[in-house]
């Protein structure tokens, strides 16, 4: 058995530390060591995007990030989207437009959507579809999700 490493990172704006194995997946570290179970596992092979989080401002699949590569990173998960009781604009839009069904893809989908709107505050429908193309949803056919992201963009008025 190898030694654990000290993983320090900024998690949803809060400095956190944990002793973890270097090849532990960021996904497992978030869920088990930090107790943030909002991030979901759908495939474990970087295909479904249910575990998508923002790492240093970029969308990544947490199942493909070994803990050692998350040292000193800024991580944002679904738990870090709302401000207190106030939902993030994409969360609010998903609620209003029924962008959620079973909810298991939702955390990753929200982060993909938030990331997209950071980069493209006024996206076309094609850009929205590309922006969430790494997040598989089996319930919605993506229709209401696309509606929600477009509506969130409008609500945010082009401001990321």
């Amino acid at each position: 058995m190898t030694d654990r490493i000290t993983l320090s990172l900024e998690l949803n704006g809060v400095p956190r530390r944990a002793e973890v194995f270097p090849m532990a997946r960021l996904l497992d570290v978030l869920r088990e060591d930090f107790g943030l179970t909002g991030t979901k596992e759908g495939c474990g092979e970087g295909e479904c995007g249910a575990c998508a989080v923002l790492m240093d401002g970029r969308l990544v699949n947490a199942c493909l990030v070994p803990a050692i590569q998350a040292r000193d990173a800024r991580i944002r998960t679904v738990e870090g989207l709302a401000r207190g009781e106030a939902l993030h604009a994409v969360q609010e839009a998903f609620l209003q437009h029924n962008g959620v069904q079973c909810g298991i893809c939702t955390p990753g989908m929200l982060l993909a959507a938030a990331d997209l709107l950071e980069r493209h505050p006024c996206p076309s429908e094609a850009q929205v579809r590309e922006g969430i193309s790494g997040n598989l949803c089996r319930c919605t056919g993506y229709a209401k999700i696309v509606d929600a992201v477009m509506a969130a963009a409008e609500r945010m008025g082009g401001r990321p």
Binding site: E41, L95, Q101, C102, I132, L136
Partner: protein, 742 residues
């Protein structure tokens, strides 16, 4: 207060929790002392176990090991039959049979242990195709490999062929389809000698309950099953949770500690049930005017190694096989056969997508042969009020299939689209376009006498704060059951939705409202919720505690007073067979369903002859589903079903290798991404039906039935070919349009 909830798009009740990442799925449970459980499987399609060896280098004394020898009673996971073992002991009938279960707190040690178990098997010749099963090359189930045979006859087809103006034949095939819910199967079990408690991801808590009661031989009240937030089901979590719950409970009982079994994606895809592969032969006769005179249909399903729920899948497929057409002479012969694949099971549509695919493709082929537009041929044959379906069921409702067709044609701009396609396709370039239709129906609720047998119960209880809680075992799996029940109850009680909650699906607390399947939750269970709510309201009104008209405060006060002054207030309604519904299961005659949802779908596709890829560019889904309770959520059901249908039509191809799924990963089993799907345009025509609450029918499965034939009909139109198999992958399409090179 007047009813305002039903018919409006109120927001999803559990939506906020899901959006915050706070909804509790099974994997999110913190369970002290939890062990992990894993499964060692057969890996060969058919054989006989000779020995199980536990290799060296593993501290076996620390690991909980369960084999068939540890079973407390009969070795069975009960569904319709009792043929499926919980753990294979001697005979192996498919490559994913569970043989050994292992549990330990250290998942990494468990992986090494799994690799150290060797199951020595004497292999036997497997049956891996419908043809081999039909030919009885090996008899692997019963006396003839046949799980169930059904014959439906209306009129007599035999004399028709000789006199018909047109006689056509075709054979159509559909492949297995993986449900691919994004949350794989998972349960957590706790067990003692005389009790079992299971929490998990599932559609049907009482199915799991039944299986555990049978396996452990316990009284019903010693087994408790709770559904956690469930990340999709689509039929895939109808029967398999019983298997995995039994496994986890066996380990937990032996270990004396809670055990979690969580399948990873590969194990989930390889081992659990899929849509039944099918083969349908159709012989049809039309008169000179294009009116159907006879349909002779042979429908086969590959059921896999055990019966599970295959007979009822076959039944639904057979009953839907003649489609929404008035045909005086129909003969449907259906059989479900055993093979050495893992058992196939429920997936949205439940047999109907298979037989309707065949029929709706056949109708387009007939249109070509008769020189009629496919829309016109269908129009000439539509069922109308007073006509009879294949089982003799009389259409009693105001059915308007021409109206559905007309709206679909209008929305897809059918005539313009056809003209544009003709222009484009004549230009000789590699991009071809086509437009296609399908008209179809889906029976709501359990088939035949199924609802009578289920005798579902659901209701409401009053709470001390003056609110009420819906009691039903029907699960929220994303489809919106919680929200719809709330709407129905609030309207019936004439109170705001804020005063209604829905109880956790816990077999200790909610009555058995039947499985969450068969497009029955809104129509059948929703009706029970409505009846119970009306009864509860009646109790309050007749008690004198509540007087009409009343507001929310008066209602709360009345409820609270009832609880303090008169005791508990609860109303449970039980399904009653409507007097005008008759079904003869022996003859397969009568009212197969209380009613049907009806639809016409239209697809516009583009095919690139450089790559043979078909892309759906526009999709119109028009349906009549009675009264729509929540339009946005109902549209969400249709859109999701259409997406699954497009996947089944074009890309979702289960590849088999010696009975095992060879592409058991999300990388290699190709479901659509957001970039693969068109906008899906959904339209409802409302026609309230008395069977459902507020006139609602079922809708969940409907969109699966007509999507694939609409898409393939559009491809047929684009290329002037007749594809007869789904998925129509680019590889298969190439074979249809190109002459082989060598």
């Amino acid at each position: 207060m007047e009813p305002t909830c039903v018919g409006t798009s109120v927001l999803r009740r559990e939506g906020r929790d899901k959006l915050l990442g706070a909804a509790l799925y099974t994997a999110d449970l913190k369970v002290p002392g939890l062990l992990h459980g894993i499964t060692v499987r057969s890996r060969v399609p058919r054989g006989r176990v000779k020995a199980i060896r536990f290799g060296e280098g593993i501290p076996w004394d620390e690991i909980t090991v369960v084999t068939a020898r540890d079973l407390p009673g009969p070795n069975v996971v009960v569904h319709i039959g009792k043929d499926q073992p919980c753990l294979a002991s001697e005979w192996i009938n498919h490559p994913e049979e569970a043989i050994v279960l292992l549990a330990h707190w250290d998942p990494y040690l468990l992986e090494r242990a799994r690799a150290a178990v060797t199951v020595e098997v004497e292999e036997l010749d497997p049956v891996l195709s419908l043809e081999d099963s039909l030919a009885r090359r090996q008899v692997i189930w019963g006396e003839d490999n046949c799980f169930k045979a059904i014959r439906i006859e209306k009129g007599c087809v035999d004399p028709v062929w000789a006199e018909a103006a047109h006689v056509l034949e075709g054979e159509y095939a559909t492949g297995a389809q993986e449900q691919l819910y994004i949350e794989p199967h998972i349960v957590v079990a706790e067990a003692t000698e005389d009790s079992v408690f299971v929490r998990g991801s599932m559609q049907c808590p009482y199915y799991v309950h039944h299986a555990l009661v049978e396996l452990f031989g316990l009284p019903e009240d010693r087994v408790r099953v709770v559904q956690m937030a469930t990340g999709g089901g689509f039929g895939g979590k109808e029967d398999y949770p019983s298997m995995i719950a039994c496994h986890a409970a066996l380990l937990a009982r032996k270990a004396g500690r809670p055990v979690r079994i969580a399948y990873d994606r590969e194990e989930d895809m390889a081992c659990t049930t899929k849509r039944h592969p099918s083969r349908t032969r159709i012989r049809s006769a039309f008169d000179i005017e294009g009116r159907l005179q006879a349909l002779d249909i042979h429908f086969l399903l590959d059921g896999g190694a055990y019966m599970t729920i295959t007979p009822v899948v076959l039944s639904r497929g057979a009953i839907h096989a003649a489609g929404p057409y008035a045909c005086p002479n129909v003969r449907i012969q259906a059989r479900a056969l055993a093979t050495n694949h893992p058992p196939h099971g429920a997936f949205r549509g439940f047999g109907a997508p298979q037989s309707l695919f065949a029929l709706e493709r056949h109708m387009d082929e007939a249109a070509v042969a008769l020189g009629l537009d496919p829309a016109e041929l269908r129009r000439r044959n539509f069922l109308r009020k007073g006509d009879t379906l294949a089982t003799g069921q009389v259409v009693k409702e105001d059915l308007d299939l021409p109206g559905l067709l007309q709206q679909a044609l209008r929305e897809i701009h059918y005539e313009d689209a056809k003209a544009a396609c003709a222009l484009q396709n004549a230009s000789g370039g590699p991009m071809r376009r086509g437009v296609g239709l399908a008209v179809f129906m889906h029976g709501c609720g359990f088939t035949g006498s199924g609802e009578v047998t289920l005798a579902s119960r659901a209701g409401l209880e009053a709470l001390p704060d003056g609110s009420v809680r819906v009691l039903a075992a029907s699960t929220e799996i994303g489809q919106g059951a919680t929200t719809v029940f709330t709407q129905i109850a609030a309207d019936a009680l004439k109170i705001p939705m804020a005063l209604v909650t829905v109880a956790e699906r816990d077999t200790d607390r909610v009555p058995n409202s039947g499985p969450t399947v068969a497009s029955r939750t809104t129509m059948v269970v929703g009706k029970l919720v409505q009846d119970a709510a009306l009864a509860l309201r009646h109790t309050l009104l007749t008690s004198g505690l509540l007087k009409e008209p009343y507001g929310p405060d008066a209602f709360r006060e009345a409820v609270a007073r009832h609880l303090t002054e008169r005791g508990p207030l609860e109303a449970i309604a039980q399904y009653q067979r409507p007097p005008d519904l008759q079904w003869d299961d022996a003859a397969y005659r009568g009212d197969a369903y209380a009613t049907y949802a009806w639809a016409c779908y239209a697809a516009a596709v583009q095919v690139d002859l450089v790559t043979y890829e078909a892309t759906v560019e526009d999709f119109v889904a028009v349906q009549e589903v009675g009264r729509v309770i929540n339009p946005v959520m109902a549209a969400g059901q249709i859109e999701g079903g259409v997406a699954q249908g497009i996947g089944w039509a074009l890309s979702e191809d289960v590849r088999w290798h010696r009975g095992r799924m060879a592409n058991a990963s999300m990388t290699n089993y190709i479901m659509p991404t957001a970039m693969d799907l068109p906008p899906i345009r959904v339209f409802f025509q409302e026609n309230p039906h008395p069977a459902g609450p507020g006139g609602a029918k079922g809708i969940g499965e409907l969109p699966m039935d007509g999507t694939a034939p609409a898409v393939l009909n559009a491809v047929a139109h684009a290329l002037d070919v007749q594809p007869r198999q789904v998925p129509l992958t680019p590889e298969r399409l190439m074979e249809l349009v190109e002459v082989p090179r060598d």
